[in-house]
Amino acid sequence: MSAHVKTSYQQSEQLFPSRAAAFWYAILTAVMIAAPFVIEPYYLSQLVFVLIYAIVGIAMNILSGQAGQVSIGHAAFLAIGAYTAAISAKYGIPLPVYLVLAGAFTGLIGYLVGLPALRLHGIYLAIATLAFAFIVEEVITRWEHVTNGNEGLMLPPPALFGLKLGPYGFFYLCLGVTVLVILAAINIIRSPTGRAFLAIRDSETAARSMGIDTARYKTTAFAISAAITGTAGVLYAHKLSYISPEMFSLSVSIDFVMIIIIGGMLSLRGAVFGAIFMIMVDPMLIVVKDKVPQMTEAAMQAIHLAEPVARTIQAGVVRVVGAPGLKSLIFGLIIILFIIFEPMGLDGRWSRVKAYFRQFPLYRPTSARAQRMFLKSERNR
């Protein structure tokens, strides 16, 4: 068991709570830098998607987790960022410029979307953001001479200062952006702005009585969240090298909400966990589709099941694992299970596992109770 005692206020300024934490983050950084040389191209590509989803997850964390504002329209911000990138690239604007430009422009749109948030709460705000997402999707589809409508836009391979970025280079670009976004998010959360967000999330009345301009901070939360998502959109567009309106549909927005529900609403680490989970579900499903029929066959042979019965069961299994809606079904199930059993998400589980080892053998499962209790009592609806 170890304890960490602070002896000066300046210590709260440190990025890492302890030397051990700094050490582990250094290891993580080294692993990430070495990753392209170690893992297969397919997994490197998945890792890039994880980074992009993690950036969006952080944007969602700031808006929903920190400021308590709901959005099921974040695919629209991703689309605005992606199209800004594609159109800028068409006019020969360099990548670093439109990376910033897309962030700024999407941030501005986010600010405007935040204005209705001043009057709407909970489910009504969710519907408003949903409507916004549909409007953006429709505009992109119809505004053909700019966006090329349903035919979509191609992007040139990403280049930085005249140098073409290969898969490795692009991975490092995504990694760099992710790290910067995480640092910015950490700084927001531990600053007066972040505390204003949490005040608005937990009690708007009290926030106003503490002198917090709730209107200003709600729109700020939307602007920051949108700007980050727009930046992710640039990377997303380059990753896919081709974008079209149907890539930014409602289901993408739902994916983004799932990142923070699964990962955990209240922490940035949760956003990263959620992103890893969301991206890894697809490869896992492929494995399941491959392996499950083989496994059932082997199992039935082992227990010497009669041939016709075995064939029926086998056909049933193949039908279930091959069903087109399987992914949605599994996702739906996961959301429900997480909300009921693990409202703190993967991050909550992680903290508890960590606490178990740190307090071993004194850890009691009930010490997590209070944590659960306070999330249930919060007025974050």
Binding site: S191, R195, M210, I224
Partner: protein
Amino acid sequence: MTAYFEVKNITIKFGGLTAVDNVSFDIAEGEIFTIIGPNGAGKTTLFNLISRLYTPNAGHIIFRGEDVTKLSAQQIAGRGIARTFQNIELFESASTLQNLLVGRHRHSTTSTWQDILRLKKVRDEEVAHRRAVEEVMDVLRLQKYRDTPIGGLPYGVRKVVEVARALCVGPSLLLLDEPSSGLNVEETDAMAEWILEINNRLGVTVLMVEHDMSLVSRVSDRVLALNYGRAMALGTSEEVQSHPDVVAAYLGA
């Protein structure tokens, strides 16, 4: 000379109900002023009017010579008026420390951009906020709850945290809405001590709503009794408690 804090002929109606009806009073700087009255008398409504969560239909609120009736709730805090709530409005998922730091909000001068970049100015201000918050924690003995989430604290402690958060605003006038509700005898006793200490040591003027008459008579300089939204009696605690209308209102005679 104008009064430090003055409420002039204030009235608010909710539909056909006049919750506060033409109430006037003034508070001198450094005073502890208490509003009492039976349930539904309009005490909390009056509080919400003063902290600008409600807008009055008529009348004025004047603080240090400035008419604050037209200001918004967040501007009121900027003028140095802080409040607590009857049913506790803390930021439940945050720690005590974070709650108190939110109270310091009006003292921070950094923009969101500066916050994102964590400039030296932000870091310096954070340390200053922290120092101020620790001073308040020292006064109210909250140090051991520093990093505990509010959701895990007992009710009595939450009540104190709320007072502490209001103090972090650095108020000149502190509004306490039923500081002793839900507290046991010892906790009420400690609360009375703290109210006196806040008043004497920190020089904060206190306006409170309270039901516990022993607490009221122990700390109050003057008491205003309300009933059905109207002012019934005003004076020292003894004067008000022996006023025939007040006795009638409480005992239903």
